[in-house]
């Protein structure tokens, strides 16, 4: 990049607006006039970093790195097994983990966020939807989700000694109410 990222970010909003709005598009167009991108799109397939004019790294691009990590790990075992198949074990673990989310991966109907807009989801062999898990999101226990369809893994509480309501378990949530995107904002200290 030929520009200074600190100056660039000074002009950015801290809370991202809806990227689809006309206002956002106009502001982005103005920003690109001031900080123009490459005239011809550069396609990258090799590992690289993107740096600004001062050497600040904005992006690390690590294509296929998960597989390589797992291959290195399995090579060290020297067990003679089919390494090419097992090299994807980490990917498979994450895909399997998605399956465990099951019905929580739904698309809400009335969310104002583009992230929950059904138009952006497409057909695949697996489910459509998204789920957020943040064990340390909000200490004060108030909800940061604006989605009316939100559910929370912290739906079950017990009374702690000081009277603060605390989640009793990750899995004690009403699956029957999973009719929206699962925003699993785990409240870890509630009503203090």
């Amino acid at each position: 990049m030929r520009w200074d990222v600190v100056r660039y970010s000074d002009g950015l909003p801290k809370n991202s607006p809806n990227p689809e709005s006309e206002t956002s598009k106009k502001k982005e167009a103005a920003r690109r006039r001031r900080y123009p991108p490459e005239k011809k799109t550069v396609t990258v397939s090799m590992p690289c970093v993107v740096v600004d004019m001062h050497g600040i790294i904005l992006t690390w691009y690590l294509p296929g790195i998960l597989t390589k990590i797992r291959q290195a790990c399995l090579f060290s075992l020297s067990d003679g097994s089919d390494r090419s198949r097992k090299s994807d074990v980490s990917q498979n673990a994450m895909l399997t983990a998605r399956e465990k989310l099951g019905s929580l991966l739904n698309i809400p109907r009335n969310s104002p966020s583009w992230r929950d807009n059904s138009e952006f989801f497409h057909q695949g062999d697996g489910p459509q939807g998204s789920a957020n898990l943040s064990p340390g999101w909000f200490q004060k226990g108030y909800d940061v989700s604006a989605s009316a369809c939100s559910i929370h893994f912290s739906a079950a509480y017990s009374e702690s000694e000081n009277g603060a309501a605390m989640p009793t378990g990750f899995c004690k949530f009403p699956l029957a109410s999973c009719n929206g995107v699962a925003r699993c904002h785990l409240r870890i200290q509630c009503n203090m």
């Binding site: 990227p19 600040i56 952006f120 989801f121 943040s134 064990p135 340390g136 200490q139």
Partner: protein
């Protein structure tokens, strides 16, 4: 808990990647998690004991395209870690503000300043899931962990 356990190794791997690409952010994330675990009313939570990551959280996004956007709730100098997986074949992560398009095949990991760079993922044929790891500014503010450093390439010289 079962889900957390299933991704615990992957969480740890992604944290290790962060330790390489932004060591100071890794340290800040670790301090924040340690602060959470060291707070009596917090460390009772089984969730934290099963959370093998220095990130504040993760979004699991299944079969969704993303229009050009920036993320919020983090800090400009921090990275989100994007992990893309699946059975799809051809896909690119586009950075339209830079004029760069990154081949985005399964198993690719991208550390990106998600609040600075607008990024876009088009629709793809096949099955795809993205694990997007992030750190939350408000968690670090509560933990009083600064984390103000940008990652400078001079660090590796």
């Amino acid at each position: 808990m079962e889900w957390l356990d299933a991704i615990s190794e992957s969480n740890a791997i992604c944290s290790a990647i962060l330790a390489v690409i932004h060591p100071k952010l890794y340290d800040a994330g670790l301090q924040a998690i340690q602060r959470l675990r060291g707070t009596p009313d917090v460390n009772r939570q089984d969730v934290l004991r099963h959370w093998a990551s220095v990130f504040s959280g993760v979004s699991v996004i299944s079969n969704r395209r993303s229009p050009p956007h920036r993320d919020s709730g983090s800090r400009f100098n921090w990275y989100d870690l994007l992990v893309t997986l699946g059975t799809y074949r051809s896909l690119h992560l586009n950075l339209p503000g830079l004029g760069i398009s990154l081949e985005y095949g399964p198993g690719t990991v991208v550390g990106i300043s998600g609040m600075v760079l607008d990024h876009e993922v088009p629709e793809v044929e096949g099955d795809r899931v993205c694990y997007a790891y992030f750190m939350k500014d408000n968690v670090h503010a509560w933990a009083e962990v600064p984390g103000r450093d940008w990652m400078d390439i001079k660090h590796y010289e």
